[in-house]
Symmetry: C2
Subunit: 213 residues, 2 copies
């Protein structure tokens, strides 16, 4: 069922064989890391010979790039949806954190590749990905700035706090295991509460409301 979700994420743009290679690549890269993964392994998981990989992707690095780009676009979409949604900054921030943390938990396999294999990208591919990452940072910082302007949040260091919030969610991909005791939904809820307390103005209307559920 994890497989189904991961597969669905690649859409219907590519031929089916390319999709199989993408999911195989995600699994292999997440398990062993990009450099330790062989093209033979990827092709094998997709039920193909090593040579078949090169019909659909120019190089092994190109396969990584496609995975990374789709993943980053998805991540940006999640934050953008929350940022552009209705409601006060506190509600929008909670939505963003809930969904972003949840995504990193539910798709920790993809997220691991997306977040930890950037260094393996070629120079041009890397630049394209960095642009997407800047978007994500800017969108989240915007929500926090809104909350500070409205007096809803009290945050001394907005860029630092935005960085910490993203960092907290991203690191979920490192440690989350489907076998663990927490579901992605529960984790999203926990994290939204923790972040809410991090930014809430002391006298605010619901300061501390999330502390004891």
């Amino acid at each position: 069922m994890q497989d189904v979700q991961e597969t669905a994420a690649w859409g219907d743009v590519e031929p089916e064989a390319a999709q199989r290679l993408l999911t195989a690549g995600v699994e292999a890269f997440a398990e062993r890391g990009y450099h330790a993964t062989t093209t033979r392994d990827i092709a094998g998981r997709a039920g193909m010979s090593p040579a078949a990989l090169y019909i659909h992707f120019r190089t092994k690095e190109d396969l990584l790039f496609r995975i990374s780009r789709v993943g980053h676009e998805r991540a940006r979409g999640i934050i953008a949806a929350a940022a552009e949604s209705e409601g006060a900054a506190g509600e929008r921030l909670a939505r963003a954190v809930r969904a972003f943390a949840r995504w990193h938990a539910e798709h920790h396999t993809t997220a691991r590749v997306v977040q930890y294999e950037l260094a393996a990208l070629g120079e041009e591919h890397y630049a394209e990905i960095v642009a997407l990452r800047r978007d994500i940072d800017r969108l989240l910082r915007g929500i926090i700035e809104d909350g500070v302007r409205d007096g809803e949040f009290a945050v001394a260091d907005v860029p630092g706090t935005a960085l910490a919030v993203l960092s907290l969610c991203v690191d979920v991909a490192r440690w989350f295991s489907a076998a663990g005791s927490r579901s992605p939904d529960e984790l999203g809820e926990l994290y939204a509460g923790l972040v809410g307390r991090m930014v809430a103005a002391p006298g605010g209307r619901d300061a501390g409301s999330s502390s004891q559920k």
Copy 2:
């Protein structure tokens, strides 16, 4: 000066050549990852031939393990010192977070290897490292439990919150750059404040005090 600190961390137990290989290994593994690093590269950075590495370490994996063990022992020492220090839970937690985040920033090169190359360890070496990591988790959770018992903290999910706090600090190693605008000290201060707000009881004596510096 980063080099001096990294070197100093390896103590004076080993012959000097082994120390050079350890620092070279840290730098290389942090830059390119364990699997993408060649023994030629490590030996070259240490000013030696590839063969010299095998005089001091049984395999490349053994070199990684030594780095990982020293790093984890250092990390545990930092958390243990804070946990066993004097003062209320809030003070001890702030000390732990300040020092732990600061260490991951200042020694982000070492920390990157310590935190992100675990999967490259052999089975027995991995088990030894996992034991150290469990210690770290237990020590931090203990501080939070103390604060909850004393009514100083209000935390609904103690294990989840402890995990989030460690996760936040660990991820510093991923993004921190010495070229960035924040110093390790400033980062430790910021993070201690953020975590303080995450756990503080709403009516507590200094609830929100850290919000505006």
